[in-house]
């Protein structure tokens, strides 16, 4: 702006400087340049006077500067809210720990413990073939052969190649345990029954 005092100001430039000139916001040098330019534009001179008068009256109403009293207590209100917020935030600080972190830690510890116990008793053999278990092949009665073998052995009768059906269908015997007990108690039991057998 230092050189502006010596150069002419266009009307458009002058208009942009009018408010600051009217309200005394220009430096002395700038103001001198504007005054010089205004001599060539009397209509703008009148506008400056109008702006000064209207805004001076607006200032006189005083409302523009009177928002101070609306916010006079703001610092107290803000500090009170700030303290409240700080107090609640310090309580809230542990909330995620209690709600998320602790259960997560608990789960993690349980998983570790379970893993360590499983590793201790882990079988060296491969997993059983579940497919085989799931088939509907009937498993033979586990003790049948053993008991009959014992019965034949104790009675002195040589075991039959297919003993199970014949022995289980012996006359007068409803329970295999009865046959076994009889065979033990009477040594001739086996030979007697054997002679009856076809």
């Amino acid at each position: 702006m230092g050189t502006r005092a010596n150069t002419s100001i266009s009307r458009a430039e002058l208009e942009l400087l009018l408010p600051d000139y009217a309200f005394g916001r220009l430096s002395a040098e700038e103001a001198a340049a504007v005054e010089k330019a205004l001599r060539e534009h009397p209509d703008l001179c009148a506008e400056v006077e109008m702006l000064r008068a209207v805004f001076h009256r607006l200032e006189a109403i005083g409302y523009l500067r009177e928002q101070e009293h609306h916010c006079s207590m703001l610092s107290v209100q803000v500090l009170n809210r700030w303290r409240e917020r700080q107090a609640s935030s310090s309580q809230q600080r542990w909330k995620p720990v209690l709600t998320v972190l602790l259960p997560a830690l608990g789960l993690a510890f349980f998983a570790l413990w379970w893993h360590s116990t499983q590793r201790g008793k882990a079988p060296s053999s491969p997993e059983p073939n579940l497919e085989w278990v799931a088939t509907d092949q009937a498993e033979p009665f586990p003790y049948t052969d053993g008991i009959l073998t014992f019965a034949y052995w104790s009675s002195g009768i040589p075991p039959l190649s297919q003993p199970s059906p014949s022995v289980l269908s012996l006359e007068g015997t409803e329970d295999i345990s009865e046959v076994v007990i009889d065979a033990i108690a009477e040594p001739e039991f086996g030979s007697r029954h054997a002679s009856q057998a076809p």
């Binding site: 942009l16 009018l18 408010p19 008068a53 409302y63 101070e68 500090l79």
Partner: protein, 215 residues
């Protein structure tokens, strides 16, 4: 010199330093006192109600305290607060789902404080009515013109600072300022208070003491 006086004279940088490493509450109180009128008036221009402007201003300072330790001082505190205030005010407007215009259709609050104890109720009422009218007038301007006028005329900020706040070139700001001032003056001379303002043209703007503001 008392600590309070020392802090009130401290620069923004010293105040931030005090807030970060010294007496936070004292620095915070001084921080609010320094910028409360600015933040409040920006919020009021956007929200149009004193109660809303107070809520917004409180929220602005609370957000500022939460983030002051991250403030890099690349812009001035005022610019930073201006941006927070506009964000908070726009957020409040969105929340309310109504613009500030709606408030102006309401009667002014009964609990408004008197603007000056020396004024009669009639004057107070007139002043409040005028305040509502003038605020409506400001709201009728495009946002950039309104904010440029308020920041330049009312807040007295430099074009450089306003330019950083609004993101507008200084040439653009000057044009906005000129247009806003001209529109306001013409509206005042032709609006409901025309008689009052036309008198100013004859008296060089000087009103008599406690002069009524006739519609």
């Amino acid at each position: 010199m008392s600590q309070l006086t020392t802090l009130s004279l401290a620069s923004d940088e010293e105040l931030i330093q005090e807030f970060r490493q010294g007496d936070r509450e004292r620095a915070a109180a001084q921080f609010v006192r320094r910028y409360q009128r600015f933040v409040y008036s920006v919020a009021y221009r956007y929200l149009g109600r004193h109660e809303d402007a107070q809520d917004a201003a409180q929220e602005v300072f609370l957000r500022a305290f939460e983030n002051l330790h991250r403030f890099q001082q690349r812009s001035s505190i005022r610019t930073w607060l201006y941006r927070i205030t506009v964000r908070v005010a726009l957020g409040m407007l969105r929340q309310q789902k109504r613009s500030a215009w709606v408030h102006w259709n309401d009667a002014f609050s009964e609990d408004e404080e008197p603007t000056s104890p020396s004024l009669s109720p009639e004057h107070i009422h007139e002043r409040q009515e005028f305040e509502h009218y003038f605020h409506r007038l400001l709201q009728s301007l495009p946002e950039k013109q309104r904010e440029t006028f308020a920041l330049r005329y009312i807040e007295g900020l430099s074009y450089e600072e306003i330019s950083r706040m609004l993101g507008t070139s200084i040439g653009g700001l000057k044009a906005n300022y000129f247009l806003a001032v001209r529109k306001i003056a013409k509206a005042l001379l032709n609006g409901p208070y025309a008689e009052y303002f036309r008198q100013a043209l004859n008296t060089n703007g000087n009103p008599s003491k406690h002069e009524h503001i006739p519609r």
